[in-house]
């Protein structure tokens, strides 16, 4: 468990009995951000670094995120670690949809952030063409420290969300940004939209076939 930061939670000490006054939003966020349960989607080499991150040396238990569950129903943080192929994309999207709200996504490594060095027909050029991504981690593979940094950035961001808004004003589900028609709870819709604007990994459009040149048979 992380510390109760003064900015988020203002402990009010009384003389005899300890009790605490805070905003309900801040309390919920504090609980959420310190118990992110990752869904490790280890697709290739980055998955190995992810295992190191969960293991004792880098120990993300310090940030309350060590409880990796191999069932999307129990997770709220999808870590896409590795090269996502279009064939795997359906599985990836299904996993994301099966995760209960609220949920966040980390794109770990250049492969999942942008396709990386695989500028090819088989590889998704950035998982943000099918999922709303919260944090991108560069590196091939990123060191576990870099992913831990992403986790901390995500925690900072969760601190700024307004989870109780949906209780008061109804569920804040809306069509997600990716045009895939899924409805997601998006406390940070504005932020996500601006990020998508800055990283428009539009899915590839059909292109004309190059004419195979050359007259001679290669020997």
């Amino acid at each position: 468990m992380g510390p109760l930061t003064p900015s988020a939670l203002e402990p009010v000490e009384t003389a005899d009995a300890g009790f605490l006054a805070t905003r309900a939003d801040a309390l919920v966020n504090w609980g959420r951000k310190n118990s992110l349960w990752p869904m490790p989607l280890g697709l290739s080499c980055c998955g190995i670094e992810l295992m190191a991150m969960i293991g004792p040396k880098f120990d993300i238990a310090r940030f309350g995120a060590e409880a990796a569950r191999f069932s999307p129903r129990q997770c709220d943080l999808l870590i896409v670690a590795g090269t996502l192929t279009w064939k795997m994309a359906q599985a990836c999207r299904t996993i994301y949809d099966q995760m209960p709200d609220p949920k966040w996504v980390i794109a770990m490594g250049v492969c999942s952030s942008s396709g990386g060095m695989y500028d090819s027909y088989a590889v998704v050029q950035g998982v943000d063409s099918l999922l709303p991504v919260d944090v991108y981690v560069p590196g091939c593979p990123p060191r576990p420290d870099a992913v831990i940094d992403a986790l901390l950035k995500l925690q900072k961001r969760i601190e700024r969300e307004n989870p109780l808004k949906r209780v008061i004003s109804g569920p804040a589900t809306e069509l997600d940004d990716t045009g895939t028609g899924a409805r997601v709870y998006q406390p940070n819709a504005a932020v996500r939209r601006s990020m998508l604007d800055r990283h428009p990994h539009a899915p590839r459009a059909p292109r004309p076939l190059p004419h195979p040149g050359g007259e001679e048979e290669p020997s």
Binding site: K87, S120, T180, G181, R204, P206, L209
Partner: protein
């Protein structure tokens, strides 16, 4: 060209096994003995190499796209003779408009996967292979990625995913 004794021995063995079949033997740049046959003689060639020349194991089936040359595809079967410790490559040229050749799954059941991969990547059909379907790409995929005309960034690579997603979305909308 002078040949190493081992290579000469291999060639003699192959020539004896393939008596009566139309073929040419040559040596490739990497020093492997190559046998060129046409597709009608392919199955018989492989059978005889297996049974009479000791090439008991198939190690590789693949193709090369020689576009724009015709016949376009060069299908290579590589065999390994465990008892003699040597290899042979059987090469067959097939046309681009009808790329079919006999399958050798009846000789080596293990060749099935390699033929499926070859079919997936080049669209070369293997007659007699039950269940010749794609191995790596999705089964509904329309293209053959290792053909020369295929751009390496793909032709609408996200098409199948988007279709799947649209169908799912329609279902979702209908039920809600």
């Amino acid at each position: 060209m002078s040949q190493a004794p081992a290579q000469r021995e291999t060639r003699e063995r192959i020539a004896k096994a393939l008596e009566g079949i139309d073929h040419q033997t040559s040596e490739s740049r990497d020093g492997m003995t190559c046998v060129d046959v046409d597709r009608d003689g392919l199955h018989e060639t492989l059978l005889r190499l297996r049974d009479f020349a000791g090439f008991s194991q198939i190690t590789f089936v693949t193709a090369i796209d020689r576009h724009p040359a015709e016949p376009r595809f060069e299908v290579a079967h590589q065999l390994w003779a465990c008892a003699y410790a040597d290899r042979v490559r059987v090469r067959t040229r097939v046309n681009g408009d009808d790329p079919r050749l006999p399958s050798c799954v009846d000789l080596w059941p293990g060749a099935g996967f390699m033929e499926r991969e070859c079919f997936d990547m080049f669209g070369v059909g293997f007659d007699g292979h039950e269940g010749l379907k794609r191995l790596l790409m999705p089964e509904e995929y329309e293209h053959h990625p290792l053909r020369k005309e295929f751009p390496h960034q793909g032709i609408e690579p996200d098409k199948l995913y988007r279709e799947w997603d649209a169908a799912r979305r329609a279902e979702w909308e209908a039920s809600s």
